[in-house]
């Protein structure tokens, strides 16, 4: 297979999906950033003729796409797997209304939780919401399936889910170029019996949903993306998505039924294939989705009794699970110091979490973002993290459960983007129902974790154009919060003072911790001071080391070495700043009481 620049491109799955959406004639696309889905929207925003936006959350994004579809435009909503939980409300009823313009929900699962808080298998949503689901196995297929999804969506009058995983989104491969197809101009067309879902209409649409599922089942039997690849041997495989590749690598000679459409399943095709093999094995990542439905059909097969139902698969795991005798020995891993992710040098979150780390009695109800890393030692300043926005609501629930005992001990921490995503209603609840818990909004002016997407408070649209910037203080006051404080988290002492006052206050209180993410391009360019360690003054107190900044390291000393360096004999070591890594936040200089950390010229 050659790489011809005229006809092919080298693209990641996310880039290929963006191209596929553009080629399919998508006019409106909305999404919320979430690894591994984020780059789809970023890439799509660069194409002409497509309106793209960052929505505050996935429910908003899907509803925007539904509206565009109702106006007759091909529309796309993108999200990571947990985002579909947020968007599940519109999803289930959009299954009833169906579409005007084609509607695709691009859902990215994250097996192995490379960057997620859970490992859910969203193929289950297709079953539960009665929607067709396509599953590509590489970037080239992902692009092709975008076109197919829009055709099916309009042909069957149904939103279509495309489920990808991390190993599609962030895998690069060779993809064929195409061209943008013509689609009808959007228009207003009233069809209330189809689009107004109140009981009388919904009961009628409920019947339509079942008819459509029947039609989709029949279509699945002849869909080219469901195909039997003949082979030799007694063992046959049914697989889909990325695991298809692992089956092909591990058992290249075996017959394979590759399912491009995973729901609904082509029952006749599966029965016909099953009849040709002696042993049928289903290879799928996460849940036994296909396997369970095969068993419900009464088709004998093996699956999760062999293949793990947790984590990512690969061809090694598949080979070892099915034919362990063919797997040779591999080197055992060595015990090495781990290298977990860490907040960056100069990260404003560190200053805030340093303050919280000194408040040992306070329960820190955390949230989803870079700042979840505040959990890690040495700061260890997060005590719970469940889902987007839950920091605030969990803090409220804890305060209600604890009553007086919890006063001055409950604080929620979440980022600006997370607050806008699903924290606002929680704060409203706190005010309405009363609390003594406090909320810290880490306002770093961006959605940092996923790679610096703009958001409703950043003052810029997805294209970088000026946009209204939400005034967080004003919003909190409008919700009824009387105590709203703003701190600069790089100023450690002032921040600690405000934290103490506000957390102890017996009424709802919001602290906005405001300083831009150090990785923002404008911050990276800004001239910043550099700090260095004045080693003569270092007493080895290790306070600066306890901040966990990657630019600061500890050198242990024996008593002899300490004396040789002119230190007291019992000084256990010294701290040193790696000046090339320093981003000049000055937090360490705030905590050093011995003038051992000094500002140097700007870099």
């Amino acid at each position: 297979m050659g790489f011809d620049k005229e006809t092919t491109l080298w693209l990641s799955g996310n880039e290929a999906i963006a191209l596929g959406a553009w080629e399919a004639g998508v006019r409106v696309a909305s999404g919320y950033p979430g690894t591994p889905s984020t780059e789809i929207m970023g890439n799509l925003s660069r194409y002409e003729g497509v309106y793209t936006e960052w929505a505050p959350n996935e429910k908003v994004g899907l509803e925007v796409a539904i509206g565009a579809s109702f106006a007759g435009a091909r529309a796309l909503a993108t999200m990571k797997h947990v985002g579909l939980n947020v968007a599940a409300d519109p999803l289930f009823t959009a299954a009833y209304t169906g579409v005007r313009g084609g509607l695709v929900i691009l859902n990215a699962d994250d097996p192995q939780m490379h960057s997620s808080q859970n490992e859910q298998d969203n193929r289950n949503y297709a079953f539960a919401a009665k929607l067709p689901l396509l599953e590509p196995s590489d970037p080239a297929e992902a692009k092709r399936m975008m076109g197919l999804a829009y055709t099916l969506s309009e042909q069957l009058d149904v939103p279509v889910i495309i489920r990808i995983t991390t190993r599609i989104a962030h895998v690069k491969g060779v993809v064929e170029k195409g061209s943008r197809c013509e689609t009808p101009e959007p228009s207003i067309e009233k069809m209330p019996a189809k689009l107004v879902m109140l009981p009388g209409n919904a009961r009628v649409r409920r019947v339509a949903v079942e008819k459509r599922m029947q039609a989709t089942r029949e279509l699945a039997e002849t869909l080219p993306e469901n195909r039997i690849e003949p082979g030799s041997g007694k063992r046959g495989f049914i697989t889909s998505g990325v695991p298809y590749n692992y089956v092909k690598e591990a058992f290249p000679e075996a017959p394979v039924l590759k399912l491009g459409m995973v729901w609904p399943l082509p029952e006749k095709m599966i029965r016909a294939f099953a009849a040709t093999v002696e042993e049928l094995i289903v290879v799928e990542e996460l849940d036994p989705f296909i396997e369970t439905h095969l068993k419900a059909m009464g088709i004998a097969c093996r699956g999760k009794d062999l293949i793990p139902n947790q984590g990512e698969l690969n061809s090694f795991i598949v080979r070892k699970a099915i034919a362990p005798e063919t797997v040779g020995a591999v080197f055992d891993p060595l015990e090495l110091p781990m290298r977990p992710p860490n907040m960056c040098a100069g990260c404003p979150h560190r200053g805030l979490f340093y303050g919280l780390s000194r408040m040992k009695d306070v329960f820190v109800s955390g949230d989803i973002g870079c700042y979840t890393l505040g959990f890690l030692p040495p700061l260890s300043a997060m005590d719970a993290c469940v889902c987007m926005g839950a920091s605030i609501t969990m803090a409220h629930g804890m305060a209600k459960a604890l009553g007086k005992k919890g006063e001055g001990k409950i604080v929620a921490v979440l980022g600006d983007s997370t607050f806008m995503h699903s924290g606002i209603t929680g704060l409203l609840n706190m005010v309405y129902n009363g609390t003594y818990a406090s909320v810290i909004i880490l306002d770093n002016r961006t959605t940092a974790m996923t790679g610096h997407q703009d958001n409703p408070a950043s003052g810029r649209s997805i294209l970088g154009d000026p946009a209204p910037a939400l005034n967080l203080e004003g919003l909190c006051r409008a919700l009824g919060v009387k105590r709203v404080a703003v701190v600069n988290p790089h100023d450690i002492d002032a921040t600690r003072k405000v934290l103490k006052e506000e957390i102890e206050a017996p009424e709802p209180s919001v602290i906005i911790s405001r300083a831009p993410c150090v990785l923002l391009p404008e911050e990276a360019k800004r001239e910043k001071p550099v700090y260095f360690t004045n080693l003569d003054n270092c007493t080895g107190c290790s306070l600066c080391v306890q901040m966990g900044c990657p630019a600061i390291s500890w050198t242990p000393l024996t008593p002899e070495e300490a004396v040789a360096r002119g230190y007291r004999e019992k000084q256990k070591g010294f701290a040193r700043i790696a000046e090339v890594q320093c981003n000049g936040c000055g937090q360490c200089a705030c905590v050093c009481k011995f003038d051992a950390i000094t500002k140097k010229e700007a870099k």
């Binding site: 960057s115 190993r167 090694f316």
Partner: protein, 194 residues
Amino acid sequence: MKQSGNILFSGVGGQGILLASELTAYAQLAAGFDVKKSEVHGMAQRGGSVEAHLRYGEKVYSPLIELGAADILVAFEILEAVRYLPYLHRDSAVVVNTQKILPPAVALGKAQYPENILDELKARHINVVAIDAFAVAESVGELRTANVAMVGAMSNFLAVGPEIFLQVIDNTVKPSFREVNKKAFAAGRAAVHA
């Protein structure tokens, strides 16, 4: 010419692994191979261990290298070379940058950076080529080309000729950095024979 192979890139977030693996992928594509490459984004990039898997051949299905199947490991940091030992086999070549980046537990004084840890690879008869990629990059006058110097060093173990890599640099690197990156590639390639 070898008809298929697996190249694993490892290091610490921010070391330029993605560009290095990208140049290598383009070179293999230019040589007529099918290529797949897998990267990790998001949480894993915040100073944590990062890896990129590159597989090439007539037709590549899986984007992930199997344990025991990496023909070449390009490691941008010493610990991050040894961490991927289970991916190696006895005929693997490991091109490793002699840089040490302290993991958090070491920086905090709670653990030690293991001494002479590359000996663990050598003891298993793995071909270890250690180069000081920063010194190479410094010699061409641009520290930020250390990753391309690593690609140059690695290229000795591939059938794809250096001229293809140089052409790829011409096509993918922005004009102001092209020449210095080509120099870094050549110097990295020469550093292995030296």
